[in-house]
Structure formats: structure tokens, C-alpha cells
Subunit: 197 residues, 2 copies
């Protein structure tokens, strides 16, 4: 192997950690396992991450960032803001619900992981709310929505749709009505955004 292929980077450690989490689950994944995948002593892992918690937080951060990326509102600016909002909400719901359906065990592992990474989740929520805020601000700009505080409205929309994207509610996603339920909530919300308070 060339030296470059062997350099121990945070990236490689995170890949290995994800691999171990996938295979063993949160409860059984150890730092020693991660090091074993990398054919390295576990002391080397501690050279890059001060504690196991820091490593787990980093895995959670990367996972959540991957969810955020395809949602960026600047990737989908066509049509009225109300419909962009629906598409955004449906996309977020589809990402989470899709993972939960495809591989429930892996989804449960990552859900637990993030639940224990409070600060990381807070940043993720801020990021999601900011994306909603952008769509709402665009809608206000074009006169489609009434003038209001877009930041507050963004957070409110995120909170009001928690049932459809928050991992805590994963058990409820088995209900086939879940898609229509989201549409019903969206209708109320965009009507609310359309009128002056």
C-alpha cells in the first residue's frame, strides 16, 4: 500500500465507525472494533477523537449533514412558495421514512446516536429551520405569503410537522395515512402563512 492510502484521517475513522455501527448497533459498537476495522490500535483512534462521545457526535454530525444537503431550497426554486414548501416537507419526510422502512435497525441505531448528541441535533434543527425560513422569505418577497417574521414561521412549520420527520415518531410512519396527514397539516400551514395575522 502507498503511505497515502494508510494515513489515518478523521474521514477514514468516521467511515469505519459507521461501518461498525451498521454491523453491531449502537450498544455493541466499541472503539476497539473501529480500530480493528482500520487495522490500527485503539490508541490511534484516540489521537484523532478525544473521547468515544466525540467520535459518536462526529458520526451523528456527518449523518445529519448528508440528510440536509439534498434539501437545500436553492436547489428547487420552481413554482409557488407554498408548493416548494410542500415538496421540501415531503422530501424530508421521504428521506427519513425511507431510511426507517428500508433498514429499521440501522435507522434505530442512528436515531439513538443522534438522540444522545443534543448539541449536534440542535445545529441540525437550526439548519432545517433556516431552510424553511428561506422558502417562506421567498414567498413573502413575491407577495404570496403575508408579511410576517420568517424566522419564527420557519421554526413553527418545522415544529408543526415534527410527527412526519422526527425519528421519535418513526413507529407512526407505518400508518399509510401518514402521507395524507402531512398534506392536511401543510394545507393549514400555508393557509395560515397566506393571511395577515
Amino acid at each position: 500500500m502507498s503511505p497515502a492510502a494508510v494515513v489515518l484521517t478523521e474521514e477514514r475513522i468516521l467511515d469505519a465507525a459507521e461501518d461498525v455501527l451498521r454491523r453491531f448497533g449502537l450498544a455493541k459498537a466499541t472503539v476497539v472494533d473501529v480500530a480493528k476495522v482500520l487495522r490500527v490500535s485503539h490508541g490511534s483512534v484516540y489521537r484523532h477523537f478525544p473521547t468515544k462521545v466525540a467520535l459518536r457526535d462526529a458520526v451523528a454530525r456527518r449523518w445529519l449533514d448528508r440528510i440536509i444537503k439534498p434539501l437545500d431550497p436553492s436547489l428547487d426554486t420552481a413554482g409557488p412558495a407554498a408548493e416548494r414548501l410542500l415538496r421540501w416537507l415531503q422530501r424530508l419526510a421521504a428521506i427519513k421514512q425511507g431510511m426507517a422502512l428500508e433498514d429499521p435497525e440501522l435507522f434505530a441505531t442512528f436515531s439513538q446516536l443522534t438522540a444522545e448528541a443534543r448539541e449536534v441535533v440542535a445545529a441540525h434543527v437550526d439548519h432545517l429551520a433556516a431552510q424553511l425560513t428561506q422558502i417562506i422569505a421567498d414567498g413573502i418577497e413575491t407577495g404570496e405569503f403575508a408579511r410576517t417574521d420568517a424566522v419564527t414561521a420557519g421554526r413553527a412549520v418545522l415544529y408543526a410537522t415534527a410527527r412526519f420527520h422526527h425519528p421519535l415518531h418513526a413507529a407512526e410512519w407505518a400508518d399509510p395515512a401518514i402521507h395524507d396527514d402531512l398534506t392536511a397539516v401543510w394545507k393549514l400551514l400555508v393557509n395560515g402563512l397566506g393571511t395577515s395575522p
Copy 2:
């Protein structure tokens, strides 16, 4: 003791079961413990409840029914429907959040208990949605809200406010912004109800 004081009723068993849950928590509460409180053999408890799960479901049902009672919309019909809606939501949030704050351990016990009693919870959710539907129907009647399907709207409002009353979100209730967040969501929702789709 007079015989009447000694008759083993479902009521007395539920009281004892609640007592045991309070003291030992869900994980450690056994049917033998419940029988011990009643100074009776555990076989006698099985005369009234076919399984431990049935007993737990009954405790959950009674607990949830106690939450429902003070929320009945016919107990508070003053003022515009929008404000009745806010009061109802705030009352529900206050009941749950109050329990979670006063005795987090007990709240966690009962939350787990209900989480495992899926059918009982479904009935509870139906009941809550029906109460919201009534308030919304009243609002439509008086012309305050636009004509719409009050049943769908009732469920949508309940789902949209899940963050503020669903025990899954109890950890988020420590945030002092939670009260304002509910108000923000309510504002969006009642605006949405006020306009025709």
C-alpha cells in the same frame, strides 16, 4: 373488616397497580407486588385481568381518561373558537408538561406504559382529535372559520401540535421557549382555519 371493604374489584386492583408503578417503576412492578399490596394471592388478580398486559392496558386507559376529562370543550365555550382552541392546546400542554416537571420519574413510567398500549393510545388520540373537531366545528358554525372538513382539521391540529403534548417530546419541554413556540404554531393554524383553501 366488613366484607364490603374486602371485595376485590377491578377498581381496587387498578389503584394498587398504580401504587406499585409509582413506587417501583414499570420495569420492576410485578403482579405479585400488586397482589401483596392488596393482601391477596397473585392468582386472585388473574381472576380479574387475564394477563399482566391487560392489567397494564387498563391502568393506561384510566390514566389517559383522567387527562381527557378536564379538556372537554363543552366545559369552556366562552369567546371565539380561535381562543378556545388556544386555551385547549395550552391546557393539554400544561397537564402533560406539568406532570413531566413535577415528577419526571412517574411521568416516564406512565409514558412507557402507554407507549406499549398501542390500542389504548389510539382511542385516546381519537378522543383528543374529536374534542378539537368539536371546537373547530363550532368555529365553522359561527362563521369564524372557513367551511372545511372539521374532522380532518381536528386531527391535523392535534398532529401539528404533537411537539407540545406528545410524551415522546418530553425532553424538549425543558426549553422555556416551548410556550411561545406553541403560540406561534397556533397562530399559523388558526390563520389557516380562517381562510378558504
